[in-house]
Amino acid sequence: MASIRVTTEDFDVGAESAALLADRQGAGGLASFVGIVRSDAARPITALTLEHYPGMTERALARIAAEAQARFALLGCTIIHRTGTLRPGEQIVLVLTAAAHRAAALEACAFLIDWLKTQAPFWKKEHWPDGTESWVEARADDDAAASRWERRA
């Protein structure tokens, strides 16, 4: 039901969408979220390195996907998360959800990315123009975003 990949390779949203829909009879909506390496004036990073916990990552993503399948009327979903060093503008993560109707697809997509951010063992290190590096700190609003789904369990 769920297709899950952790990879250093880039992904093609169109190809992944087509693959998800290929054998999903009855799909009426496809929702997607693509996370991108951001660099701006306030935070002018030159690169981002993503580390993860091989084994636990795949288990956590499978568990999150199973939870989404149980909560929403999903026909299928795809989660791809990249690791390694990525440059600004590069794609980091893809969440695709297919359902008969838009509400399930959109809500499941939001649920998956919110939960992924707080439950999957990935860590980001930022690289700065002066050559220094720093680990990204977890954000309280990510926890808040994930916790809004708890009331709906």
Partner: protein, 104 residues
């Protein structure tokens, strides 16, 4: 109280299957501060929970003390499932320590 230094460099026992070896993994800045990504570690007698293991690791020197200085910023998984301070440890377990996750 246990002497935490008793755990430092203590060679794994080779006697009669009496070992209580676990694997410990460290990630992100915990790995950098500890100076170690993965190790085999013999659980000292009486160390049966995550919290007790943390007490032992904190006493292994400056790097480990710094890595574990702020318990609020340390997460743990036992056998690849999130665990709490009271989670029990058994020989053969895979125990991982890491900061709060920042993926997505």
């Amino acid at each position: 109280m246990l002497d935490p230094r008793a755990a430092v460099g203590y060679p794994p026992s080779t006697q009669c299957g009496a070992t209580a070896l676990i694997t410990i993994l460290y990630f992100a800045w915990l790995r950098e501060r500890a100076g170690c990504g993965e190790e085999r570690f013999e659980l000292p007698a009486g160390v049966a929970t995550v919290a007790a293991l943390l007490d032992v690791l904190r006493g292994r020197g400056q790097g480990f003390a710094q890595a574990f200085a702020h318990p609020r910023l340390v997460r743990c998984a036992v056998n690849q499932v999130f665990a709490g301070p009271d989670t029990a440890l058994r020989p053969g377990d895979e125990v991982a320590f890491f900061p709060p996750v920042t993926g997505g």
